[in-house]
C-alpha cells in the first residue's frame, strides 16, 4: 500500500519536473503551435468561439525599464533594466536637450555592446540585460538648474519582435556644484507622453493596491488548507515540543514557541513563493506553447484526482518518522529549535498540500513577481498556522476531530484545481469551449453537493445549506452552458448575448449629448467652460466592439456614474466615417473609436486625459479623476 503511494508520488513529481524542463527547452523557439484545428473548428462553429492567443510579451516599459539618477551638477545617470531575451540598439539611444540653453550635452560614452549580425542592417551593436550611461553636461550657469531632456531608444526581443521607438521626457533639477545625490525614478518624473504609458501607470498602481488584498486572500486560503488532514502531522510535533517543556511551560512561553514554529513554516512557504516569482517570470514565454499549457493543465487534473481520494500524495511514512525524530532531537526546548522544526514540518506537510500549493505557485509564477509571491505564500503559511497557534496555546484542548468534513474540504480543493486546469487551457481553446468546461465543472460540483438528491427526513441545517449551494452551483453551470450555446464568451456574463439581458443593462447607461460637427463641438465646449463644467467626449461607432463593451460593462457601473456626476457628457458617432467625422478625429489626432477625451474648464480646449480602447470601471474611474480634477 505504502509502496504504491510512493510510486504515485514520484510519478507525479516526475511529470511535473519533466514538463517544466520541457517548457524551458522550448521557451526560446517561437510559437509554432501544432493544430488541433479540426476539433476546434467544429466546436467553433457550434459555439462561435475565437482562438484567444495570450499575449505573453512584455509591455515596452517592462521590457526596457528606464530609471534616471542625478549624480551631481554635471552628471546624470541613465539606467535601463532590460528584460531577459530583450535588447536595445546602441545607435537608437539618443539624449536631446529641450531647455535651458545654458546647458550643453556632451557626447555619450557607450559601453562595449554585443555585436549582432542582421541581414539587412549588417553588424549592429546591442545591449542585453542592462545599459548604464552617464550623460555629462556643461553647465554655464551657477547654482541649481532645472533641465528638461528627451531620451529616446528602441529595442527588440530575441523571439523576433521589435518595439516602436520610445521617448521619455524628463524634468530634472541639478544641484549646485555639490555632489548631492538626487535619485529620481523615471516613473515619477517622466511626462508620460504616450497614452499607453498613462494607462500602464494606473495598472501598476492597481497591482500595488491589491497586494494586501492578495495577502488576505492567501491568508484565507491557508486557513482553509489548515482544515485538511495535511496539517495533522504538525499537531503531534508541536505538542511534542510543548510537552517537552514539562511543567516549566507557561502560557506565554507556549505562545512564543507556537508562534516561532508557525512563522518558520510560513517563511519556508514564502521562500517557495519567491522562487516561483523569480522562476515563473522566465517560464512565461513557455506558456505560449499549447503543448506546455496542455500538459500543465493535465498535471492539474491529476492533482485534482488525488484530492478526490482516487490516490494519495504523501511523503513515505519511513521518511516522515525520520524527520519527526530529527525534529525531536532538535527540540531542545528553545524558540530556535521550534523554528527549525517549523521549517522541517513545512517540508513534511509540503507534499500533502502539494496540489493546492502547486496551483498557488503557478499563479504566482504567472505574475512573475517575487515580492508578491513571498508575501502571498507567507500569508498562506500564517493562515495554515492559525489553528496550530490555537492548539499550542490551549495545550491541545482545541484539537479538531478527524471526520468526514475534512474530505469535503479536500474535494473543494479538487474543484479549485480543476478550475486552474480549465483556466490554463482557456487560452489555447476557443472561448466557447472553455465556458462549456466551466459549466460542466459547476454542474458536477453541484451534483456532488447533492443538489439533485432529496434531503433526508430530519436533515441538519448544514446539509440543507450545502444543498442550497449545490443548487446554486448547478444553476450557474447550466447558465454557463446555455450562455456558451448562445455565443457568450465571458464566464461572468454568460448570457450577455441574450436580448433580455441587454435591455436591462441599457437602463443604467450614461446619457450623452450627441454632437456631429467640429463647430458644434467647439460651441458646446466653450459653453461648458463658461459653466465651469468638465467635459467627457466619447467617440462612438456602431461597428466598434470595444465601444459597445464600454457601454455595457463600464458605463453601467455606479462608480462611473458617480465620478461623472458634474461632467458634461458628449458623444460623437463616427459610424459613417464621413468627412466631418474624419475631420474631428484628425483634430484630436485619433485613428478612430474607441476613444474618450476629457476636458477641464481651464484646459483651453486641450484634452487633459484620454482613454483608448476598452477599460474596466475601476481603472476608468481613476482615469476620470486624474483627468478632470
Amino acid at each position: 500500500m505504502q509502496n504504491t503511494k510512493l510510486k504515485t508520488f514520484f510519478l507525479l513529481v516526475f511529470i511535473l519536473l519533466s514538463s517544466l524542463a520541457f517548457g524551458t527547452a522550448i521557451a526560446a523557439t517561437p510559437n509554432s503551435s501544432p493544430s488541433n484545428d479540426q476539433a476546434n473548428k467544429a466546436l467553433e462553429q457550434l459555439f462561435g468561439g475565437l482562438n484567444n492567443p495570450s499575449d505573453e510579451l512584455l509591455l515596452p516599459e517592462q521590457a526596457f525599464n528606464l530609471s534616471v539618477e542625478v549624480i551631481d551638477a554635471t552628471t546624470i545617470q541613465l539606467h535601463w533594466a532590460i528584460a531577459d531575451g530583450y535588447y536595445l540598439y546602441k545607435d537608437k539611444v539618443k539624449v536631446e536637450l529641450i531647455e535651458p540653453s545654458t546647458v550643453q550635452l556632451q557626447p555619450l560614452n557607450f559601453p562595449t555592446g554585443k555585436e549582432k549580425y542582421d541581414e539587412i542592417f549588417g553588424d549592429t551593436l546591442v545591449y542585453y540585460n542592462e545599459l548604464i550611461l552617464e550623460q555629462h553636461l556643461n553647465n554655464t550657469k551657477e547654482g541649481a538648474t532645472k533641465v528638461s531632456l528627451t531620451i529616446s531608444f528602441q529595442g527588440c526581443a530575441d523571439i523576433g519582435v521589435c518595439y516602436p521607438p520610445m521617448s521619455k521626457t524628463l524634468h530634472l533639477s541639478l544641484p549646485k556644484g555639490s555632489t548631492l545625490k538626487n535619485a529620481t525614478s523615471a516613473n515619477q518624473t517622466i511626462d508620460k507622453t504616450s497614452v499607453l504609458s498613462e494607462q500602464e501607470q494606473i495598472a501598476d498602481s492597481l497591482i500595488r493596491d491589491t497586494l494586501w488584498l492578495t495577502c488576505l486572500t492567501f491568508l484565507g486560503l491557508g486557513l482553509v488548507l489548515s482544515f485538511t488532514p495535511c496539517v495533522l502531522p504538525m499537531v503531534p510535533i508541536l505538542s511534542g515540543i510543548l510537552i517537552g517543556h514539562g511543567h516549566a511551560l507557561t502560557t506565554r512561553k507556549a505562545i512564543l514557541i507556537s508562534f516561532s514554529y508557525v512563522v518558520a513554516a510560513a517563511l519556508t512557504y514564502a521562500l517557495f513563493g519567491v522562487l516561483a516569482g523569480l522562476f515563473g517570470s522566465n517560464l512565461q514565454a513557455s506558456f505560449q506553447n499549447p503543448w506546455i499549457i496542455g500538459s500543465f493543465s493535465f498535471v492539474f487534473v491529476l492533482l485534482a484526482l488525488s484530492m478526490f481520494g482516487i490516490y494519495q500524495l504523501q511523503l513515505p511514512a519511513s521518511l516522515q518518522t525520520k524527520l519527526s525524530k530529527i525534529s525531536q532531537h532538535q527540540a531542545k526546548q528553545t524558540v530556535l529549535g521550534s523554528a527549525v522544526m517549523g521549517f522541517l514540518s513545512a517540508l513534511i506537510v509540503g507534499p500533502c498540500v502539494a496540489a493546492p500549493l502547486a496551483g498557488v505557485l503557478i499563479y504566482i509564477g504567472r505574475t512573475g513577481d517575487a515580492t508578491l509571491g513571498g508575501f502571498a505564500l507567507f500569508s498562506m503559511g500564517i493562515g495554515m498556522g492559525i489553528p496550530l497557534l490555537l492548539i499550542g496555546t490551549s495545550a491541545g484542548k482545541l484539537l479538531p476531530k478527524v471526520g468526514h468534513w475534512m474530505e469535503s474540504i479536500k474535494s473543494f480543493f479538487g474543484v479549485m484545481l480543476l478550475a486552474v486546469a480549465i483556466w490554463l487551457i482557456d487560452r489555447i481553446i476557443p472561448a466557447g469551449i472553455s465556458i462549456v468546461l466551466w459549466g460542466l465543472l459547476f454542474v458536477a460540483y453541484g451534483v456532488y453537493l447533492k443538489a439533485t438528491e432529496r434531503l433526508a427526513e430530519g436533515a441538519s441545517n448544514w446539509q440543507r445549506l450545502a444543498k442550497s449551494f449545490g443548487i446554486i452551483s448547478l444553476l450557474y453551470g447550466i447558465i454557463l452552458i446555455i450562455g456558451a450555446a448562445s455565443g457568450g464568451t465571458n464566464p461572468l456574463q454568460p448570457l450577455a448575448n441574450l436580448s433580455i439581458n441587454k435591455s436591462t443593462q441599457q437602463n443604467s447607461a450614461l446619457h450623452f449629448t450627441r454632437v456631429s460637427t467640429l463647430t458644434e463641438l467647439d460651441t458646446t465646449l466653450k459653453a461648458a467652460i463658461l459653466n465651469k463644467q468638465a467635459v467627457m467626449l466619447d467617440f462612438y461607432a456602431d461597428w466598434c466592439v470595444s465601444c459597445k463593451e464600454m457601454e455595457a460593462f463600464t458605463f453601467t457601473d455606479p462608480e462611473v456614474h458617480n465620478a461623472l456626476q458634474n461632467t458634461l457628457l458628449l458623444q460623437i458617432d463616427v459610424t459613417e466615417n464621413n468627412d466631418e467625422d474624419r475631420a474631428i478625429l484628425k483634430h484630436f489626432n485619433l485613428i478612430g473609436p474607441p476613444a474618450i477625451l476629457f476636458f477641464t474648464p481651464d484646459s483651453n480646449g486641450r484634452s487633459t486625459g484620454r482613454v483608448i480602447g476598452y477599460m474596466k470601471a475601476t481603472p476608468f474611474v481613476k482615469n476620470i479623476k486624474q483627468a478632470i480634477e
Binding site: 475565437l50 527588440c156 519582435v161 466598434c544 478612430g592
Partner: protein, 165 residues
C-alpha cells in the same frame, strides 16, 4: 462544516485574482480605419470586405518584419485568385516604406500609419505594441487569428485554407 468550506470557496472565487477573472474580452469584429497608401490615396479597410485579409503591422526599422515580407509577396501572388489580400500597415514614414516597397517589389498595398499606427494595432488586439503583428480577417470581417512575431508560411496557408468556403 461543509457550508463553511463553501463560504470560503465563494469568497475566494469572488476575489478578482483567481481563475475566473482570466477572461478578457477578445475583439472579434475588425475595427474600422482608413489610412493613406504610397500614392497618398486614402484607403478604407472596408474596401476589401469579402476577402480574406492578412493585415500585417510592420516597420522598416524592425528586422524581423522586413525578413518575413518576401514570403508575403510570394503568398500574395499564389493566393490572389482565391480572394486573399495582404495589407501592410507601416508604423513608419512614407519615405522609408516607399524605398523598401520598391526594393522588395511589394505587390500589395502598404498603408502609412506612422507611430500612431501602434494605437491601431492595439485596437486590433496587440497588447504589448510589438512588431511584427499580424491578424487574419475572414470574409465576414471577423478576426480569426492574431500573432505577435513572425508568421510562418504554413500558418498562413493553414488558416486561409480553413476559411475557404
Amino acid at each position: 462544516m461543509k457550508p463553511l468550506t463553501l463560504f470560503f470557496g465563494l469568497l475566494l472565487m469572488s476575489q478578482a485574482n483567481f481563475p475566473f477573472a482570466a477572461s478578457d474580452h477578445p475583439i472579434k469584429t475588425r475595427p474600422n480605419f482608413s489610412l493613406p497608401d504610397l500614392e497618398r490615396k486614402v484607403r478604407h479597410i472596408n474596401e476589401w470586405d469579402g476577402k480574406v485579409i492578412i493585415l500585417n503591422f510592420w516597420a522598416t526599422w524592425c528586422p524581423p518584419c522586413r525578413k518575413e515580407i518576401p514570403e508575403f509577396v510570394k503568398l500574395q501572388d499564389e493566393y490572389r485568385n482565391q480572394g486573399v489580400q495582404f495589407i501592410g500597415v507601416a508604423i513608419d514614414n512614407e519615405q522609408s516604406v516607399s524605398q523598401f516597397a520598391f526594393e522588395m517589389d511589394m505587390n500589395y498595398p502598404s498603408l502609412i500609419a506612422e507611430i500612431k499606427g501602434i494605437g491601431l494595432a492595439q485596437q486590433y488586439g496587440n497588447r504589448a505594441g510589438a512588431l511584427p503583428y499580424s491578424v487574419i480577417i475572414d470574409r465576414h470581417g471577423q478576426i480569426v487569428f492574431r500573432k505577435t512575431g513572425p508568421l510562418s508560411r504554413q500558418r498562413i496557408i493553414n488558416t486561409i485554407t480553413s476559411l475557404k468556403e
